[in-house]
Symmetry: C2
Subunit: 208 residues, 2 copies
């Protein structure tokens, strides 16, 4: 074998091994909030037009990685589906990220709490107008705060998707791809999604 | 070797193996709420007087395992320490369980949210009167809902420790002993515990 060929084969093997190891490494991440302030404009612009370099943002916020940008990156990594179950959803950047995924062809489903969805700053109206499927509970509190990316990555914690929570509260978010956690949450999502199906609404019959 | 001796040796080996396997099995559990109704009286009575059979409770609630009894059992398993960080804490059974641990000599530390700790039904006053160390934040929302048992078991999710949340809300709790999750939460607890140290209170100087 010629030395050049051997080198190329060795390099290809090393790259393949690195890719395999990267794919096999389990995701077990903890994010704490309030997040350090950081600019998300370029991150969202690159997600809106993949492959097109974003124009530099002129805002004074630092460009560092933060809990908030980590959360956004995990969500924007969705390729097939995003299932979201949120007590409160009013953070504009997270609302924009979800709309981007919908436009990209990702199947987005959102369940939210009936009492919060109409409150000031809620993103739910924007999502519905964008054509995203949103359902809500009828009784009690739908107090979950989780998302499942591509059916394989669970994002869950104490954090509601509000600017208050991201910027001011002490909160936590776990990101995990262990099927022992992902599957029960996916099953719970499907159960809730069906329970919140509008064909099952009972308020009309209740009012009679 | 005599048959009896061989049998005893085999049994001892089997028991040792079973114990080893049990100790090695990672804890990865998901609990969903609202919990099915179930009686907790006998469980708490047995925890109060270990080794003494509890008198049968006469209430009509079923004796089944539920998300709530699972949560209680994990907490009552504490032997050395219990660190709790809770936005709202008003569930009497959970308050009683924490007091039991304190009486048993477990080092209990509680951090809670300043706005919630005085609200109706809050357990915080009972805990403080029982001699348990409780601290609270001064600004914003301390919105965590987690507990760490013996520094090795993390219990975290969307569930505040309130009867409303346990019995009525759609909630989740993860129970996990993976150090990748436990350690960041323990570090966060120590940080918050120090930040909420009364010697650091600033409201007196603020009022001047």
């Amino acid at each position: 074998m010629r030395p050049g060929l051997a080198l190329a084969a060795g390099l290809a093997l090393a790259v393949a091994l690195a890719v395999w190891r990267r794919r096999r490494r389990p995701v077990r991440e903890v994010l704490f909030f309030p997040s350090q302030p950081s600019c998300t404009e370029e991150l969202l612009a690159e997600a809106a037009q993949p492959g097109v370099p974003a124009r530099p943002c002129l805002c004074p916020l630092p460009r560092r990685d933060s809990s908030f940008t980590r959360l956004l990156r995990h969500l924007l990594g969705a390729r097939r589906s995003l299932d979201v179950c949120l007590f409160a959803f009013s953070c504009p950047q997270l609302g924009y990220a979800v709309q981007l995924l919908h436009r990209r062809g990702v199947r987005v489903r959102v369940v939210t709490d009936e009492l919060n969805m109409g409150s000031g700053g809620s993103q739910i109206g924007f999502l519905r107008r964008a054509g995203i499927q949103v359902r809500h509970n009828q009784d009690g509190y739908m107090h979950h705060k989780f998302a499942i990316v591509d059916g394989t990555l669970l994002i869950t914690g104490s954090l509601n998707w509000t600017t208050q929570a991201v910027q001011n509260n002490w909160e936590n978010v776990l990101v995990v791809d262990d099927v022992k956690f992902v599957k029960p949450f996916q099953d719970e999502f499907e159960r809730i999604w069906e329970e919140c199906n509008p064909v099952n609404y009972s308020f009309l019959s209740k009012d009679k």
